[in-house]
Symmetry: C2
Subunit: 422 residues, 2 copies
């Protein structure tokens, strides 16, 4: 784990503020699920192997608890137990999550995520809404060179069934291998498919399907050609048609491609899924991702409610911004430092400090009673742009010196006017 | 543990924003220590009994880890290992902490704190700075009816030594009992002091000292009368004199009282300590508190550096604000809902949604293709103030209806002018 230093916090606060503004603009209401969940809840859909990837422990009452590994599970668990909320329910969160991974580039054990979820409708309209909020989140921090890759797990599942991959276990393990298509060498992929019980012919068919990639129009017409009669595939394909139509109304279809290899790693997804990548930043991993999980809520509670959602890592966005150098100028030091020329004006200097702060000016001063030279050195090392120097002689006339630390120019100003001059 | 609901988050975001503004105004730089610390770090000064009060566990590598119980320990551990930071070091944080307590009124297992720390000076000037940032934090959220009760642990310790309570263990356990003075019945207090090995006479002397309470001037002159020659007491008393002088320069002395019974519960404090209470809200507990811990950093690392700091619970402030009903009006729902009168204008309605959002207006719409009546019901249940109704006839002329949900009045407006009308 790591401490987050002031320079990074200043950036994080800015990024989260920009994303929060977008979430509000889309009508999502901010909440925060508890950071500590029952281990059962965390395992519900992802299975007990999730234990290996998270922080979990028994509390003093002997209950197994775990730190949340994402925000989706907690939001779904909450909504599933709340019969009072009118549908659709649009919730969002920006908060911490923890994974017990080997720390590696762009993956931390403690990280922050933004997350927006829509409960209560199976319409791809909601998926489009989630995809657009993701796009606007990126654009509102200044990332415009991205690509969203969309697919429908239902389509891939229907295809697997169609070619004879039929048991739940086989389908699930095939999906896990598909998720690794771009990351593992072809021989290893073939081996993994083989372990799931797929024949050579089936493997080729899956690989061919997953190589379909391009504009929604192109992929949809290709799919129309490939699957003319299969009604299961047809339903899944219709969802992608509807999605493309809605994205067009929202003026966003051009930023999306349909990519049949995208299935997402997490087990709870069961419909439209997508991942966004910062162009030229594939090594960072997906910069947001999400999808539909219509069957998750039923596992958690009283309310069987369809759901879809999108989430992204704050740290990954920050890495992308760092690379593209598009952060705005962020100030994380005070605007002015009040220095005292001699120790006999300390009390008066403190009064000036209190007055400036009262008017809302970020003001610092010397807590160590150092010489004027040392005070200026400190202000300089903190990159504080202005220093007010309180001296006995000027003070008697109600004046002080104002020093611009960049130009090193000094001028006399009325103490009452300091605020105006900054 | 509990989920934080949208209404509460909206308030929390506001409160934290107000406090964050004050922290910046005072020149504190925001950081965040890691949420998971080595158990050793958490136990360093508080002792192994802290295990009973926190969440801790062994990770897969067999290391004992714990969730932070405050922000001070992590900030001190970080500063103690950073030789590069120029002194004084003023850091702050607003973040989560966890305690494994029985949940009770105004105390949660997962809570948020704001925290401001000053490293690098023993001067009570720094303690005054910390106290003032606490006061301004309260005032900036609108809490003006508070009292800050200040003491010096060094003074109480010097007094204990003077009356013959001399071992470290005796002094520590006497301080723990003093911290409970206002909460436990007198017989139990006497019993606890007795267990620490204090004689009846010593107990009376301690109780008398701790009953000293009043304006700084009054308490200081009383102390001058009581301890004329003792140099240890004198040093501690001089710190309180200096503190009162600085608080006066800052224009804040009138909001403080000196109260010799205040010693704080946490083991790491070793100088000036204080607690603030919302008037009439003593049941909430202290609304901020802090003090000096000059010897903590040396335990953690390479840098033996004096320190003082202040912290407060966000939830406690929120309870106080709720009671005094001084929250500003906070909007956590969208400003406008775009309804479609019939299903043949859906695509056009979505275009209006996208346009409004693009200009930054928080906009929601129907994700379920419901009737106009149902859409209005939903917008009403979400307390959205305006509904734009897109109808085929008006649309052809470039118009829509704007409905004020409170007055229930409708008027026709140009679609291009919607934003201006909201």
């Amino acid at each position: 784990m790591r401490d987050i230093e002031p320079q990074e916090i200043a950036k994080r606060v800015w990024v989260e503020g920009q994303i929060s503004e977008v979430l509000q603009r889309y009508g999502f209401r901010m909440m925060e699920p508890t950071p500590i969940e029952h281990l059962d809840t965390l395992e519900a859909k992802s299975g007990p192997q999730i234990r290996e990837e998270i922080y979990w422990f028994a509390d003093k009452a002997g209950r197994n608890l775990g730190l949340r590994f994402d925000l989706t599970v907690g939001m779904a668990r909450m909504v599933a137990n709340r019969l009072d909320l009118p549908e659709p329910i649009k919730l969002c969160a920006i908060a911490d999550s923890w994974r017990y991974d080997e720390p590696q580039f762009a993956r931390y054990r403690h990280f922050r995520q933004w997350d927006a979820e829509i409960f209560g409708t199976t319409d791809p309209l909601a998926d489009a809404e989630a995809i657009c909020v993701g796009m606007d989140a990126l654009e509102n921090v200044g990332l415009r060179e991205y690509e969203v890759r969309i697919n429908n797990r239902r389509l891939v599942e229907a295809f697997l069934r169609k070619i004879g991959v039929e048991t739940r276990a086989q389908i699930d393990s095939a999906l896990i291998t598909i998720d690794k298509l771009s990351r593992l060498p072809p021989t290893q992929i073939t081996e993994e498919f083989g372990k799931s019980g797929l024949s050579g012919e089936q493997i080729e068919a899956v690989k061919e399907l997953c190589s379909l990639r391009g504009s929604p129009e192109k992929v949809l017409s290709e799919l129309a050609r490939l699957f003319r009669e299969d009604t299961n595939v047809e339903t899944a394909r219709n969802e992608l048609i509807r999605l493309a139509d809605v994205l067009k109304s929202f003026g966003r279809r051009d930023r999306c491609i349909y990519d049949l290899s995208v299935v997402r790693g997490i087990g709870y997804y069961d419909g439209i899924v997508y991942e966004a990548y910062d162009k030229g930043g594939e090594d960072i991993g997906s910069i947001f991702g999400g999808g539909r999980y219509d069957k998750l809520c039923a596992i958690y509670g009283k309310r069987d409610i369809p759901a879809t959602g999108v989430a992204g890592g704050i740290e990954r966005i920050m890495i992308s911004l760092e690379r593209s150098s598009i952060y705005p100028k962020l100030r994380e030091t005070p605007r002015v430092f009040v220095a005292s020329a001699t120790t006999d004006v300390l009390f008066e200097a403190w009064e000036v400090v209190a007055r400036l702060r009262k008017t809302g000016v970020a003001t610092d001063f010397d807590l160590k009673e150092r010489s004027l030279e040392k005070q200026l050195e400190y202000a300089n090392s903190m990159r504080i742009p202005y220093v007010v120097i309180i001296g006995r002689r000027e003070l008697e006339r109600g004046f002080a010196k104002l020093r611009d630390m960049q130009s090193r120019k000094e001028k006399e100003i009325r103490i009452d006017d300091i605020q105006k001059e900054l």
